[in-house]
Symmetry: C2
Subunit: 220 residues, 2 copies
């Protein structure tokens, strides 16, 4: 049974490896885990010895099949718990991430299955993030973001890929939760600003970086 620490490392590597060729730098991992870089090096070598990752010294780390399977399990627990906290316990959208961070390590498969059934086998969590299946299948779809989508198109928010409480509350406040209709009216690369409009709402300006964290799909 992997320790809480191992589960956290694997989950982080999985989350950070989206984008690059699956290779995660020691620095990024240390940052995300709130740990000193040297610790990560030590720990990653231990994970590699257990066959959960491959470590390319001074280049980065990548999950093995076994490591990925474990990481997807943690992610599944995390996202199902989040869904439960929001849908059943009616907890605050922004606060559930921290709660799930704890519970994801304490929940057994038996409990998880019941929870999954109770929630109606959801495929995405309240932030719109996909929930891995029991065998680790991940409906990996490529979405545009508010930073990359076409202008003036009718769009729908599908996902918010930033778990920080400030960002989630900001998004919530302006109605940018999964399912919300939105339209980008202007994008100015030099100043790094994106302006959007929600039907019935005031125009909203945010940075390109923030816009890049909101995934969208064409309306209908």
């Amino acid at each position: 049974m992997p320790s809480v620490t191992v589960e956290n490392y694997l989950k982080r590597i999985l989350l950070l490896s989206a984008g690059n060729g699956g290779l995660v730098s020691m620095g990024a991992l240390a940052e995300a885990l709130a740990v000193v870089p040297g610790t990560v090096t030590t720990m990653v070598k231990a994970l590699a010895a257990d066959g959960l990752v491959v470590h390319a010294p001074r280049r980065g780390v990548r999950l093995t099949a076994a490591g990925r399977r474990l990481a997807l399990g943690v992610l599944r627990r995390h996202r199902l718990v989040e869904t439960f906290l929001v849908n059943v316990l009616k907890m605050d959208w922004g606060a559930v991430n921290a709660e799930a961070e704890q519970l994801e390590h304490a929940i057994s498969d038996a409990v998880l299955d019941r929870l999954d059934a109770l929630l109606g086998h959801p495929s995405v969590d309240p932030h719109g993030d996909p929930i891995p299946g029991r065998q680790g299948q991940l409906p990996s779809q490529v979405y545009a973001t508010l930073a990359t989508c076409g202008l003036a198109r009718a769009l729908r928010v599908v996902r918010v890929t930033d778990q920080s409480m400030e960002f989630l509350q900001f998004a919530e406040k302006h109605g940018l939760r999964p399912g919300a209709a939105v339209r980008v009216t202007d994008r100015h690369l030099a100043s790094g600003l994106v302006t959007l409009r929600r039907p019935g709402g005031r125009p909203l300006t945010l940075s390109l970086v923030a816009a890049g964290r909101i995934l969208v799909e064409p309306e209908r």
Copy 2:
């Protein structure tokens, strides 16, 4: 924030201190925690240094007010989680103890409050054990057991004070769950046997020890 280990020690001390004058022996604690006695001595000294217990060397250990408050918190989490697992997730009566053992350390006050409300602020868990209140108030009532009650009286099971899966499954199988009607027809001290009868059920014989783990109150 107390560690998982500290929480487990405190909870065990609380559970074992019922009966004796609150004084728990190192041996009993080691046994209950599945740890070697020397480890308990070391750990108890650390707990004492933190003001959570008082350690009377070679005599035993007792909770301080602070330790008791913490322990009751853990117990509250444990029993509310059990109630949730049985009442909402419809999990097996005998299996929930092990699950709750993990979850009790991962659940925050915020989540617990919602859970408590969802369950309708229950005062006992599925085994009939009382659930401590938010401020640690424990409805401490003295019950008779099947080993001590009067003969031929109409009784009702209120609580099963043995968390082992075998015992719980045995009790379940013979309808001895909280609320069940029962009557002791015979008790033979020499052989250590108790015979009972459930309305509409066959007579059942069990040992005095086992009978002592089933708390009852007079019918009506």
